[in-house]
Amino acid sequence: MIKRSFFGLVKPKLQYEIIDEAQAEPVSIKASKQIMLYIDQSLENTGNALLKTGDPVKAGQKIAMTDSVDYLLSSKSGQISKISTFVGIMGKKFTSVTIDVDSESSQTVDESFKNVCQTPSLENARDFLAGLPGQPDFNGFFDMDKPVKAIVVLGVDDDLLSTTNQYFVKNNIIAIKTGVDLLCKITGISNAILIVPQHLEQVAGSSGAIVKTVDSEYPSAHPELIMQHILASEDGKSKSKSGIAFFSAEAVCAIGAAYNTGKLPLEKIVTFVSKNGNKQLVSVPIGTPIQDILNKFNETLNDGDRVILGGPMKGISAFSAEYPVLPDTDAIIIQDKNQITERSDTACINCGECVRVCPANIQVNQLIRFLEAGQYEEAADQNDLFSCIECGFCSYVCESRIPVFQHIKLAKHTLESMKAAEESNA
């Protein structure tokens, strides 16, 4: 954990992790006995669920509970042993699907993608590739109101400690090139931009895309800021999110590989950070429980420890070590109980630290007063709630240790669901 520097006069600087020359190759972790997939869909009525306990699944098969466009891909073949629903962050409902994995020798592979991979298109990308590592999102291309004008490939990690995407730029630039070319082909967009940290600018040159660099201080690799600072200078007015499709470097590699080989790559590269701060890249099948990774590194968990999926600033914490690696899990961080700073419910003391660090120029000190009082609409009208890019910096520096970021997310979520409710009533 990075502490306040002795001289607090200057803004705190949080540096992104830099993948170094001597970085070890990812440690490969074999599929364990079970994998688990968390699907962002709830099963209201088990009767018409697409899958049932006991169903066999093949590696690469689409796993979804309903007919909506969202799905995951099973990384292994096996048999569904359990389906359950649970409530996650902000009251969202999830379904977890547990699959008992077949032995290595008896793996079977779903062939439906192989049949379409000869004719790459946006439609079959959306139908088969959204569950790839890096979770590529193709839905934006189908929104006719906001035509996509540029593809941006993030060869940077947008949270601290993770080196996952940099790994692909550094070691797999050819795969990125393949992926970018394919994406350009199926979308008909010629404008592809690759964002990389400064130290990888050289390497990135051979990708064929336009290369842009971001500096090494958090949160400059945040997509919103990339849009503001790097892309806006390109094209003056386009400050809104519309018109740009973001893909992670890992996703681009996976897309390229999928079309080239007809096989869906379902191994996720994850930056694993142990309690004592050691970092190691691992390659695991999507759905592997975190416990398997812990076992590999002989890491033991005790009561009160914290398991974080994603980076230290924006990740989520898991309630159990059985939590699986998901397509967008770039990092897994284990914190010992005594590394955790307790949050408090002290009021804001107006120290102003949050205002100084906020990359979106939000008056967080005022905002938090409205949020704590539950006045979300006023917070949005008068204090720019929706300008927040969710970097978490304000909570990181808060002297009162207020969970500012959590309040912000809760407020945004509440307002958005109120708006959605209104619209569906209208």
């Binding site: 009561d303 914290r306 230290p312 898991a318 107006n350 520096v397």
Partner: protein, 319 residues
């Protein structure tokens, strides 16, 4: 998911820079010692008594209020102790116990707790309490009379009284280096200039106070004192005198910078400080009060919510 391991589940971010209210209070208390210890050496055990009583009574008032309002005990954050210390720094060493206790009551209870505790006070609690006790028991805080029984190796007249009554000439009898070294009478923690400056610089460098406020406050004093001095050099003392006498330094580094009652944006901080400095000199030169710092700080606290509305455009809200 059926194991019994209880992991900590919480919200992002999972890192924190380690800052806390109590470490801030601790550091400010430390920095204030640089001025308070020399003050205690100068005024002897009575000063130590006033300081300890002020801190202790401030903490006890806060505890009492915590109990009465059935809220969590908040003395641990050190803010009550800090308020007590700030209040004591302004007092003469001869202040009777009941005036100290009444003062800390107004600071902690009326100044802060009834607004909802830390961070909610619209005015600096210590300054508020000081003006209230000064209004009520003026003669206790008339430094000339209060410190009559001490004998010093320097001119034991409160410098601001001289300049108020007799203009700039007697003010010139004070050598600036003497003033810096605390060779003047005044509040326990308000006279040792070097200590206050060192403490202030320490706090600015460590980021515990917003340097913009302190620096612009001093700049405001300097500029307006110079203006008056040029206008009428016989009547109005120069900037050096105003910078090093009365509550100027404690005001600039320890009082005006109180978090809750001061702005956080850059331009507002400058306006806030400059206005405070200018008002201080105006009150000293043409108002009734002997020292202007306290009232100037109350006025800038008052305009703080309005000036702090000057702020940069949020992301995506610009033109």
């Amino acid at each position: 998911m059926h194991n019994t391991l209880k992991l900590t589940v919480s919200h992002a971010p999972f890192w924190h820079n380690g800052s806390s209210i109590s470490s801030k209070s601790r550091n400010i208390l430390l920095a204030s010692l640089l001025a308070v210890i020399p003050g205690c050496l100068q005024y002897g055990p009575a000063a130590v008594g006033v300081v300890t009583l002020a801190i202790a009574s401030a903490v006890i008032w806060e505890l009492l209020i915590n109990f009465i309002s059935r809220r969590p005990i908040s003395v641990g954050d050190g803010n009550a102790a800090l308020i007590g210390m700030m209040f004591a720094m302004m007092l003469p060493a001869t202040t009777p116990w009941w005036a100290v206790v009444t003062g800390t009551f107004f600071a902690v209870v009326i100044g802060k707790e009834i607004f909802g505790g830390i961070g909610a006070n619209p005015f600096n609690p210590a300054v508020l309490a000081m003006t209230i006790v000064m209004l009520s028991w003026g003669d206790l805080f008339d430094f000339n009379a209060a410190l009559l029984n001490y004998s010093f190796d320097f001119n034991a007249v409160y410098p601001l009284v001289l300049s108020k009554s007799f203009g700039a000439l007697p003010a010139e009898s004070f050598v600036l280096t003497d003033l810096l070294l605390g060779k003047q009478i005044g509040g326990i923690g308000a006279t040792f200039g070097i200590g206050l400056i060192a403490g202030g610089v320490y706090l600015m460098l460590r980021g515990y106070i917003r340097w913009e406020i302190s620096i612009s406050f001093l700049a405001g004093i300097f500029a307006s004192a110079l203006f008056f001095n040029i206008l009428n050099p016989e009547l109005y003392a120069g900037p050096g005198f105003h910078l090093l006498t009365g509550y100027t330094l404690i005001g600039a580094f320890f009082l005006a910078t109180e978090d809750s009652s001061s702005p956080v944006n850059f331009i507002p901080m400058l306006i806030y400080g400059l206005l405070g400095g200018a008002l201080t000199v105006m009150i000293r030169n043409i108002g009734t009060h002997i020292d202007g710092v306290l009232y100037a700080i109350l006025i800038i606290n008052l305009v703080n919510p309005i000036v702090d509305k000057i702020r940069p455009k949020a992301l995506g809200k610009g033109v």
